[in-house]
């Protein structure tokens, strides 16, 4: 299947709108589905501004009577969401940068240099790709504990980064092998060492792949739940946002408006990123299936 990569959107051939009844019906259906998709987000946004009384009274309404900013203040301070937010940012940014750096390095040497053991290495990666993830959390927890990393964010960062290394190395390997060798060879002739060539020549040429990997890693790590949940069982101050909201539900069985405020704080940042970069998000996802 040879397909022009990245062209997900329909062809921009647009005729003037003809409002046939059938087309109106299609739009009506599509908009209803869209409402179904937006409603939970709008509802939780509204709920985050309601008073507890209104929350229980007004049920499904989307417009709060008063804007209770105090819910956010409470969640941010007393609910420790300032900490959770900070933790999530640190974990997400560190893992994303770490994955981009390590996988571009390994992808580069795997695509460009010939060395003893390369085939074994690549074969090993392909085997690991097909090992089920998620069922090995128990020894991971044990190892992190024994390394003494349960009481700081580094444990979460390393475990999450490790999970993204193999797949993204293969992506970078594929990408680098499509880049022409000429520029690189010119650098080598000029006496550049391998690290210099990688950093000055190859990495700048890999910007599209860096963007794809970065976007995916940002999304995955901002939303990750299972690993931070398990690794912060004994240490609430290391919780990330998703884990924090979940724990908040258990600990404040009556404070639903605060839970809503916490949920909004966790959803808004990734939604803003999505809003501005949605084309790239969607093209990255579409590209993954074609590869």
């Amino acid at each position: 299947m040879s397909v022009a990569a990245g062209s997900v959107k329909p062809l921009p051939v647009r005729r003037p709108p003809r409002l046939k009844p059938s087309r109106l019906l299609i739009h009506a259906i599509l908009i209803s589905i869209g409402f179904f998709y937006m409603y939970p987000f709008l509802w939780v946004l509204a709920a985050s501004f309601k008073t507890p009384g209104e929350f229980f009274r007004s049920g499904l309404s989307l417009i709060p009577e008063h804007f209770m900013w105090a819910n956010y203040v409470y969640a941010w301070n007393a609910g420790h969401f300032s900490t959770y937010f900070f933790n999530t940012v640190v974990v997400t940014v560190s893992v994303t940068l770490l994955v981009i750096l390590l996988t571009s390095m390994s992808g580069y040497v795997l695509s460009r240099t010939q060395f003893p053991g390369k085939k074994v290495f690549i074969g090993g990666m392909l085997v690991l790709m097909f090992m089920p993830a998620g069922y090995t959390i128990i020894p991971i927890f044990d190892l992190v504990q024994r390394m003494g990393l349960l009481n700081n964010l580094l444990g979460i960062i390393l475990v999450q980064a490790a999970g993204g290394l193999i797949f993204n190395t293969l992506l970078f390997m594929g990408y680098f092998s499509t880049i022409s060798r000429e520029i690189e060879e010119a650098a080598v002739v000029d006496g550049a060492s391998l690290p210099t060539t990688y950093w000055r020549v190859m990495l700048p040429m890999a910007k599209p792949m860096i963007a794809t990997v970065g976007l995916f890693q940002f999304m995955i790590n901002w939303n990750s739940f299972w690993i931070p949940l398990v690794l912060t069982i004994g240490n609430p101050s290391l919780r990330t946002l998703a884990v924090g909201v979940y724990a908040f539900v258990g600990e404040n069985s009556t404070g639903w408006t605060y839970v809503a405020a916490g949920a909004v704080m966790s959803i808004i940042p990734i939604m803003i990123v999505f809003f501005f970069l949605q084309r790239y998000f969607i093209e990255a996802v579409a590209g993954a299936i074609k590869g």
Binding site: V3, V8, P10, R15, L30, G34, Y37, M38, P40, F41, W43, F55, G59, L60, L102, M105, Y108, V109, L110, T113, F115, P116, G117, V120, L128, P132, Y135, T136, I137, I138, P139, I140, D142, L143, L158, A162, G163, L165, I166, S193, L194, P195, N223, F225, W226, V245, Y246, V249, W256, V259, A263, M271, F274, Q278, F281, I282, V285, A286, I289, K290
Partner: protein, 328 residues
């Protein structure tokens, strides 16, 4: 120097030196930068991917409360207990119910939407696509929490509204009743990740050459005939991958179930991953039978099953691709 040690280790994992050790060593030395560039990745993967895979097998032979060293060797006892535990098998059944109900419904809806949105004359299709995709960028845990607030008796009160509209006779406790908990979680699961499959199908549809449809139109084929004779056959390759990805993804369901019901009520929505979580990470003070070794045995059992499915997927996709290239 560090580089040489790595090179030496690397050498150990390599085939016999084929009679030219000096040339081989020279090769290794020449490429020391390559090994150094791979080292950080290799260390992290070794620690947090390969070691846990090996260790998870070892733990299954022990009784262990998760603190210190595993204590009592029990051999294959845990596997026997897992195989005899009706709660494991009900969790197993729920996991497969989740996957086998969710996947066909979600993929059918996604394909229909993709066919509609793929029409180049449809205005606003990019906006629709973005809206349907938006839950995908949100974590399953948060989606689950918001949905359970919306569906639960805490505020949202959807069932009261449905009674008011005459759709329901009496209010339903969606997540509190054994009958509805799993179907509701499945519904939320369909909603949450539909966007992925929509985008996959759109990409697949756009990979079908337009000339095929043009030729068919010239031959007088109508839309339905074109769908059956062109679209479906052309989707088969990517479609298979989409199906397997969806099945594998849903078999690992955890976040949604944990935050929406915790596997309850009375284990009615328990899936394998929440079962494992319960045995591995509930403090013994709350649940006496917590046992990391036992949980690992259940995890390994499920892991092997999922791996089997993954390999099957690989073989089937390969077979279909070869089959098609022969047919052409």
């Amino acid at each position: 120097m560090a580089v040489r040690t790595i090179a030496a280790q690397e050498k150990a994992g390599i085939k016999p030196l084929s009679g030219k050790p000096r040339a081989f060593l020279k090769q290794v030395k020449k490429n020391s930068w390559s090994y150094l560039f791979l080292l950080p990745m290799l260390v992290l993967v070794g620690l947090f991917v390969i070691y846990p895979l090996v260790a998870s097998i070892q733990i299954t032979f022990y009784d262990w409360n998760g603190i210190g060293k595993p204590t009592r060797y029990v051999g294959l006892q845990h596997f026997l207990t897992v195989a005899r535990d009706p709660l494991f098998w009900s969790a197993f059944r729920h996991t497969f119910t989740y996957a086998l109900v969710l996947v066909p419904i979600q993929l059918t809806l996604a394909l229909i939407l993709a066919l509609v949105l793929n029409n180049p004359r449809l205005r606003g299709s990019l906006a629709y696509r973005a809206v349907y995709f938006s839950p995908v960028v949100t974590s399953a845990a948060l989606v689950g929490i918001v949905m359970s607030m919306l569906l639960g008796n805490v505020g949202g009160d959807l069932s009261a509204k449905l009674v008011e509209l005459g759709i329901l006779k009496e209010p339903v406790d969606w997540l509190g009743s054994p009958q509805f908990a799993l179907p509701v979680i499945i519904g939320v699961g369909i909603w949450h990740t539909l966007g992925y499959n929509l985008v996959y199908f759109l990409a697949a549809l756009q990979s079908i050459p337009r000339e095929l449809y043009e030729a068919a139109t010239v031959d007088g084929a109508n839309a339905v005939q074109q769908f059956i004779k062109i679209t479906l056959p052309m989707l088969r390759g990517i479609g298979l991958v989409i199906v397997f990805l969806a099945i594998l993804g849903s078999l690992q369901v955890f976040d949604l179930v944990l935050v929406m019901t915790g596997g309850g009520p009375f284990f009615a929505s328990e899936v394998v991953s929440t079962y494992i979580y319960r045995f591995a990470f509930t403090p013994a003070s709350i649940q006496a039978e917590s046992n990391v070794g036992y949980a690992s045995a259940a995890a390994l059992f499920m892991g092997i099953l999922v791996m089997g499915l993954t390999i099957t997927q690989l073989l089937v996709v390969r077979y279909v691709r070869r089959h098609r290239s022969e047919a052409n």
